[in-house]
Amino acid sequence: MEDQSQNTAPGGTQSAQLRNVDHSPRESRALAVGVAGWLLPGLGHALQFMWGRAAVVFLSVGLLVGAGASMKGNVFTRQGNDAFDTLGYIADLGTGSFYLFARAIETSGADVSHADGDYGTRLLATAGVLNLLAALHAYEAARGHKA
């Protein structure tokens, strides 16, 4: 029977284990960067000194949330009536701390009886999904993947 070790590179298993050990702190840091990017849009990139991307993510998400809430879009809460409300809540939560900002500036509640309110709802959801994408991007960049 052929020796299995002949099919692997010299020290292959050991080096793979070492790689995992070496990457562990990096993984934890990457995860922290991703969570930071979710909580405060742009922070994940700022922690990696990607200032341009950090500024653009912060301003884009902030502008979309500000516009969406000012247009009286629906800021979903936990008390949803159906699956679409739950999905909207998840999307809105994607904005991280800006969700609270949206709730704070939309004091008089949503008004989706007009097109403006409907657009506002979409802009808020877009802001959340965009921020999740940016946080994932920051996470991948922190892991050392091409970004």
Partner: protein
């Protein structure tokens, strides 16, 4: 907090706001070199406008 004055935009203005913001964000996240970013932003914006206006025109016969 004081209530923010409501923002009233036309359909096209809201669509343009969405397209510009998303195109810029995608350009910065997706490309590294500034010339590549500018090209990506312009191309993405053009496609957003083309598809959005195209769908709008396609729906026009069913709107009344």
């Amino acid at each position: 907090m004081t209530a923010v004055p409501p923002l009233e935009l036309t359909h096209f203005q809201a669509f343009l706001l969405f397209a510009v913001v998303i195109s810029v964000a995608f350009g910065f996240l997706g490309r590294r070199r500034p010339p590549d970013r500018v090209k990506y932003i312009l191309w993405s914006l053009f496609l957003f406008l083309l598809v959005g206006i195209g769908i709008g025109w396609a729906m026009f016969p069913f709107s009344r």
